[in-house]
Each structure stands twice: as C-alpha cells, then as structure tokens.
Symmetry: C2
Subunit: 198 residues, 2 copies
C-alpha cells in the first residue's frame, strides 16, 4: 500500500505530476488516473488528500508556487513595505504567468474548476500582508489590519493587469507607481473612513 | 486592384479574418498571407493599412471590440459614474476574455506582438473616462482630469483580476465594491495630493 497521504515527498510527487500533465495536455484532457500513474501513486492515495481533479489543480496553482503567501519584509515604513509587497507579487506573477494564463480559458468553460478556485480564495494565507498593516499601525501610520484582503486584491490586480496588457519587465518604476499612487493613498483612505463607503 | 485601404467594409473583412484565424490557429501559426486569402484581399492592401501581423492583431484586440472606448454615462454623481465605468469594463472583459487570455501566453513569448501592444497603450481613447472626471470637477466634486490614465488602469485591473481569479459573474456587488472601496477614494486622494507622492 501507499504511504500516508500527507507524506511530503509523496504529496510533492503528485503535485509535480499534476503540473507536468497540465502543461503537456491541458486541464480538460488530463485525468486523475494519469496523474496517479505519472506520480507512481494509487488513486486512493490521491483521493485521501484531494476531493478531485479541480482541488488538485487549485492546490498546484495556489500553494505549490507560494502564490498565497506574500511576506514583505519590514523596511521601516508603510511606503517601503507596500513597495516590497508589489515586488513580491511581481516575482510570483512572472513565475506563474504561463500556468495561470493557460488555465484561464479553462476557468471560463469549466465551472467545477472555477468553483474550486473560488472556494479557495477566502482561505488564502494573507498573514504577511496583515503583518505589514499591523507594523504600520504600530508605527502610528494610518493603516488597519482589517483591510488586508482588499489591499492584497488591489496589489495583485495591478501586477497582473500590467503583466497581461503591458508585459514584462515589471520594473522599479512600476513598483514605485503602484505603491505611491495607488496602494498608499488607499490604505490611508481606508483607515480614515473604515467602511470605504461615502 | 483592391479598393482603397481605409474602405470600412474591406477593413472589417480583414479584421474579421484576422480574428477568425487567431481563434482557429493562434498567433504564431497565422500568417498575413492566410489573412489576405481569408479576407479576399491582397497583401498590399493589408500592408497599406497595417505595418504587419502584430499591428493587425493589436487593432483586433483594442479597436474591433471597443475595448478602448469606455464611455460611462452621466449618472449625476462621481460615485455613480465610477460604477458605470466599472460596469462597462466588465462587459468588455466578459466579451473579450477568451481572446485576451488566448493571446496572453503569446505576448510573453512573442516580443514583437508585446511591443506593438505596448506602443498602442498610450494612444488609447480614454476620452470617456476624462469626461467623467471633468463632469465631477464641474459639480465641485474633488476630481482631476489629469488622473484619467491611472483611473482607467486601476478600474481595468480590478475587473480583469476578478474575472481571472474569481471568475464570472461580475455582479452588482463587485461593481459597488470597486467603485466605493477603491476608485472613489483614489480619485479623491489624487485630487488632494496631485502628484500622488507623499
């Protein structure tokens, strides 16, 4: 029998196989059978850990590449930390661009994969972004940790928009613009009018 | 001989052919020869109007589908107009999602197409967004027409991010959130500190 489903080596082999097959044949043509064969695992092992193909692919997208865990370092100022956040998201986006774009048309036509990704979004690990806002609050800068999710969403939106419509490189000028012109004014506005509604 | 290159019927036939071939075979495999044959036009006609394949495709992406010309109507308030802007961008994004996503991986690997799209971005028709900011200024709301380009970029970024990572539908709740929590505070912040730098 296979080893326990959470054995990290086995889990990694299964996620690697999923990514390889995804790149080779696309989401629709790939089956759990093929993933099991490629990873030298049993289907039972896979199903003990993941509900099915959509959940496996969401795991590959979101966790396998640290997409979910931006951890901007403490630069000593909110402005500097926001620039670090943008820089980290740029790195992730540049690494995962092809994978996400390849899946994106699948997301539109495949409702089960879209649902699995949607279900995952609220549970993303944004503790690094929350810590950024808490550090700023601790320094007396106007910033509220309650704004973690929307800060992460806007920052990620800017990075992906730039990558898709303007293309790489995501350079220092872009990072500065995103931090100074968008994220910093927003964090301040949210702190001043918590609901965001006027 | 062919009719003059700017004859709208002929131009439309060429753009239609480009879009069809793009969907059928992808950017890399498609040639200007094939576009000419499909559109029953000569290559000379095509080259009188467009510098080459990249420029043709950029025209298809940006102009053929009104991507560039959001024209939010006057709702009587900045908040309402911003919601209209988001709603229009949602419509465009939902219509063009498959096309853009299909091209996106090409953009990464194909530098000539990326350059053509980049060259086009600054010349996009954003007069509808500018009019929105001017109307707000005219009503005495804090808003500056100088912020047209960055307002359009942030609004578009929010819409595409949502579509790619969360998926359709882009509903009223999303429109309200984008307008109230992001665009309205940003337009105000920019009007108060024009440079955006702190």
């Amino acid at each position: 029998m296979d080893v326990a489903p959470l054995d990290p080596v086995r889990e990694r082999a299964i996620l690697d196989a999923t990514l390889e097959l995804l790149s080779e044949m696309g989401y629709d043509r790939m089956s759990v059978d093929q993933i099991a064969k490629r990873a030298r695992a049993s289907k039972a092992t896979i199903y003990r850990r993941w509900a099915g193909k959509p959940e496996l692919v969401v795991d590959v997208i979101c966790n396998r590449f640290d997409m979910d865990t931006p951890r901007p370092r403490d630069t000593g100022s909110l402005r500097g930390d926001l620039a670090e956040l943008v820089r980290e998201l740029c790195g992730t986006a540049e690494r995962k661009h092809t994978l996400i774009m390849g899946l994106s048309s699948t997301l539109v036509s495949n409702q089960e994969l879209a649902r699995a990704l949607r279900a995952h979004m609220p549970s993303r690990d944004l503790s690094g972004v929350e810590a950024l806002l808490e550090r700023a609050g601790g320094r007396g800068e106007p910033a509220r940790s309650a704004d973690t999710a929307r800060l992460a969403a806007v920052a990620e939106a800017l990075v992906w928009h730039r990558l898709i419509f303007v293309g790489p490189p995501l350079d220092d000028a872009f990072v500065a613009e995103a931090a100074d012109d968008v994220l910093l004014p927003l964090v301040r506005a949210w702190a001043e009018a918590p609901s965001g509604r006027s």
